[in-house]
């Protein structure tokens, strides 16, 4: 029976919706910054999953999920920095950051 309380299934529902939005952002957007935003949405959904699994399935040792979430946040931060550096040099190089326009490396 579905409950309205903050349960594991409800958390998974919210994070699943966020994941689907992020996936659409990654697959269906033209701008690279929008693509990066989709990746951030997916990582946030994964983080929410980690925290809710830790909280609801392992109430004694929930902080392991928090530690994993912290590592994911570290990865997201460094990924954003690198992505923006690549984006800036790409913009200096060809004045466009749309993913359809970047085909200089295509074989």
């Amino acid at each position: 029976m579905p409950t309205l309380a903050p349960s594991l299934n409800n958390c998974l529902l919210i994070s699943g919706l966020m994941f689907a939005c992020g996936l659409f952002c990654v697959l269906g957007r033209k701008n690279s910054v929008s693509l990066l935003m989709g990746v951030e949405l997916i990582l946030n959904a994964a983080n929410l999953n980690l925290v809710s699994f830790g909280t609801f399935l392992y109430p004694k040792t929930f902080y392991h999920g928090h530690c994993f979430a912290i590592f994911v946040i570290v990865l997201a931060a460094s990924e954003t920095a690198i992505f923006l550096a690549i984006l800036l040099s790409l913009y200096q190089y060809q004045e466009k950051v749309d993913v359809d326009e970047v085909h200089a490396l295509k074989g």
Binding site: G16, G28, A77, I82
Partner: protein, 198 residues
């Protein structure tokens, strides 16, 4: 009967999901970025409701204070601002929508073991006890009168102490690797983004 924590849970959940939808479907880039702000904020609220106070603070400081500012930088530095609206067009949006909806359906209907346990509270300690980690006690500290899976366990202590202890003991190798990764990312970003010197 909705208690206050349920109301706040769904408010933050709606903020997160609604702004995630705006991020995905807004026709203007700058609207997407500012919707992402609300999405991060809603996730921080969900962390706080789930008892992750340290992660909620980290979410606000790092995501909103750091990553979002970087994203706004990226938007403003890679667009001609003389165009008024900064349009954000779609590409392959039909196949992307189909794939996203399929993935959402798959995620929501995946027959995972934790889904079976939600109906009754009896099988909860079966699943948790069969894990390699230490078994969950049958009566974990929960809000009174609810099943263990249907309620947020009440942590009466803060989570910063166990996180700090475990980061520096159990996960110390991953911690050091993450610090090396951050250093490499910083140097790499600086060297990629600098101007070419002839």
């Amino acid at each position: 009967m909705m208690e206050a924590i349920d109301v706040f849970f769904w408010i933050f959940g709606l903020i997160s999901c609604g702004s995630a939808l705006v991020v995905a479907f807004s026709p203007r880039l700058i609207h997407s970025v500012f919707a992402l702000f609300f999405c991060f904020f809603g996730v921080a609220g969900l962390y706080a409701i789930l008892g992750a106070d340290f992660l909620a603070a980290v979410q606000v400081i790092l995501y909103i204070g750091g990553i979002l500012v970087l994203l706004i930088f990226g938007v403003f530095l890679t667009n001609r601002l003389s165009e008024k609206h900064l349009p954000n067009p779609f590409t392959h949006w039909k196949s992307a929508a189909i794939l996203s909806v399929l993935m959402l359906a798959l995620v929501l209907t995946f027959p995972a073991p934790w889904r079976m346990t939600v109906a009754g509270s009896k099988s909860n300690d079966q699943v948790a006890g069969s894990s390699p980690r230490e078994g969950v006690e049958a009566q974990s500290p929960t809000v009174s009168g609810r099943t263990p899976l249907g309620a947020v366990p009440v942590h009466v202590f803060n989570t910063t102490t166990p996180i700090g202890v475990h980061l520096l003991t159990t996960y110390v190798i991953a911690f050091e690797l993450a610090s090396i990764l951050l250093l490499v990312a910083m140097i790499g970003a600086a060297s990629i983004a600098r101007k070419e010197v002839h």
